[in-house]
């Protein structure tokens, strides 16, 4: 691709439709980002009210997924998009699936935050908090790259996930130590484990979205390929 600063379509209506789904996916991203921040706040402070709000807010995320998917289907049926337009529609259709799953992860975290028994085991939540902040940054960066359709940023972010995975492993080891030291803490540790797992999955979802951004901009499908191959594909 020479570059992605494309001209406008002859059909202004088509332009408007593509702009619409782009704006909607960014709005959905913003919503999911807020859900994640609130879910992590809720669990850090064991704030049941906030957790409840996150759980109730998920239907908005789900609704947006369905609405944007319908718009994508309509564009495909009416406009038969090709090349970058087709890749945009496909990338968006996939991105919203991952965003919706991040929304589900937020609900999981919020549900853990509702567990009253965690009150007596607050120290367990410390490393989750740091992981959570990392995941939030990752999601924020990903949405930023999505807004700018920046393949280089997406590639750099893609590598971020390895760090989050490392943190996840560390947290798991820590939680196992708790269990061994005090088997009575096992139910609480399990609660935290579910939340930790949910946070880790956010990273995987962000990674997927980065792949879709690269697919849209570069026209290369970089799923399931090594970083060396990716670099070659992206001419880095």
């Amino acid at each position: 691709m020479d570059n992605m600063n494309l001209n406008k379509h002859i059909s202004g209506q088509f332009n408007a439709e593509l702009d619409d789904i782009r704006n909607h996916v960014l709005a959905m991203g913003g919503l999911v980002e807020r859900q994640l921040e609130q879910a992590l706040d809720a669990i850090a402070n064991l704030d049941a009210e906030l957790a409840q709000r996150v759980i109730e807010g998920d239907h908005k995320v789900n609704g947006m997924e369905v609405a944007i998917d319908e718009e994508c289907a309509r564009i495909i049926a009416k406009r038969q998009p090709a090349a970058s337009d087709l890749r945009l529609v496909l990338a968006i259709s996939k991105t919203i699936t991952d965003l919706e799953r991040i929304g589900d992860a937020c609900v999981k975290i919020a549900k853990v935050a509702l567990e009253k028994r965690l009150k007596k085991q607050q120290p367990l939540l410390v490393s989750l908090d740091s992981m959570g902040r990392h995941a939030t940054r990752f999601l924020h960066g990903t949405l930023d790259a999505l807004a700018r359709m920046d393949a280089d940023a997406a590639f750099a972010l893609h590598k971020e996930d390895a760090k989050l995975d490392k943190e996840y492993e560390g947290t798991i080891r820590q939680l196992m130590t708790y269990m061994m030291e005090d088997p009575r803490s096992i139910p609480e540790v399990f609660d935290v484990l579910w939340a930790t797992r949910a946070v880790e999955r956010v990273g995987d979802r962000c990674q997927n979205i980065c792949e879709y951004i690269i697919y849209y901009v570069k026209g290369k499908d970089v799923r399931h390929v090594s970083y060396e191959e990716m670099e070659k594909d992206l001419n880095l």
């Binding site: 691709m1 090349a83 337009d85 890749r87």
Partner: protein, 272 residues
């Protein structure tokens, strides 16, 4: 059926740069064409593979029909038309002085935008080319007529009225009749110049279906204004713009990840 073999996914169905000689039906080399002072084609070079469908797309006046006409020397009929460069059919330059143009056109058949049956019966339309070749044996002509009409997917519709006037057929049927007439003389290459632009959507689909069948026997080159049609029927697509061949690659690449900005603009409707 979806193949998940990674190596199969990465190799393109046809590697156009490395077509071996046997697979190349036509090769165009450094073709320039001028109508008087106006240059219509600029240094076009490409290889057209055998028994595949190759589509030429591009805006009006980009030279795609002109290029198509060069393949069976239809441009010879145009005054003031100057051609340089080569068009090789199986390695033989068709612009060589020794080439018999009538023989060339027997080998490279052509179908035009508007169906142009002769004012004769359906049967006589199909066997016209054979009669010209001096074949008059009734049995041979009957066989050829049936074979060609079947090949053009119109036999069932006309078998009971072969001796009716061809003008009684619908536009879509007339176009298939013309294709039957073109394949009756068993050419190697079939040139289709916007064959469906005067047809309704259903007739268009029937012709498109026919094109996919024709490629098992013939090398098909099609000029079309309908990009989706190029995407549906062709194996290779060439995008032309202002007399230049901008991009030529397998159709999947052109329609999902074109490499040139101009191609991208054109197929996504940004041209203009």
């Amino acid at each position: 059926m979806i193949s998940i073999d990674k190596s199969a996914m990465s190799t393109k169905s046809v590697d156009l740069k490395n077509l071996s000689q046997e697979e190349t039906a036509l090769e165009i080399r450094n073709l320039d064409l001028k109508y008087g002072d106006k240059q219509a084609l600029f240094d076009v070079s490409m290889k057209i593979p055998e028994k595949k469908v190759t589509a030429f797309i591009g805006p009006s006046g980009c030279g795609k029909s002109t290029l198509l006409r060069c393949i069976n020397r239809m441009n010879d009929l145009v005054d003031n038309c100057h051609i340089s460069g080569e068009v090789l059919l199986h390695g033989q330059n068709i612009y060589d002085k020794k080439v018999d143009v009538a023989a060339l056109r027997r080998n490279v058949g052509m179908v035009f935008q508007r169906p142009n049956p002769f004012p004769k019966s359906i049967y006589e339309n199909v066997v016209y080319g054979l009669r010209l070749q001096g074949i008059n044996n009734r049995r041979d002509l009957d066989d050829a007529a049936e074979r060609s009409l079947r090949g053009a997917a119109i036999w069932d519709e006309v078998k009971d009225r072969l001796h009716d006037n061809a003008f009684g057929l619908s536009g879509g049927q007339q176009q298939r009749l013309v294709i039957a007439r073109a394949i009756a003389i068993e050419p190697e290459v079939l040139l289709l110049d916007e064959p469906t632009s005067a047809l309704d959507p259903i007739s268009t689909l029937i012709i498109e279906e026919l094109i996919s069948e024709l490629k098992s026997k013939y090398t098909v080159v099609i000029v079309t204004h309908n990009m989706q049609q190029a995407a549906r029927v062709s194996d290779q697509t060439a995008f032309m713009y202002m007399g230049e061949l901008v991009e030529y690659a397998d159709t999947n690449t052109i329609f999902t990840t074109p490499q040139k900005r101009k191609t991208e603009d054109y197929i996504t409707g940004r041209y203009g």
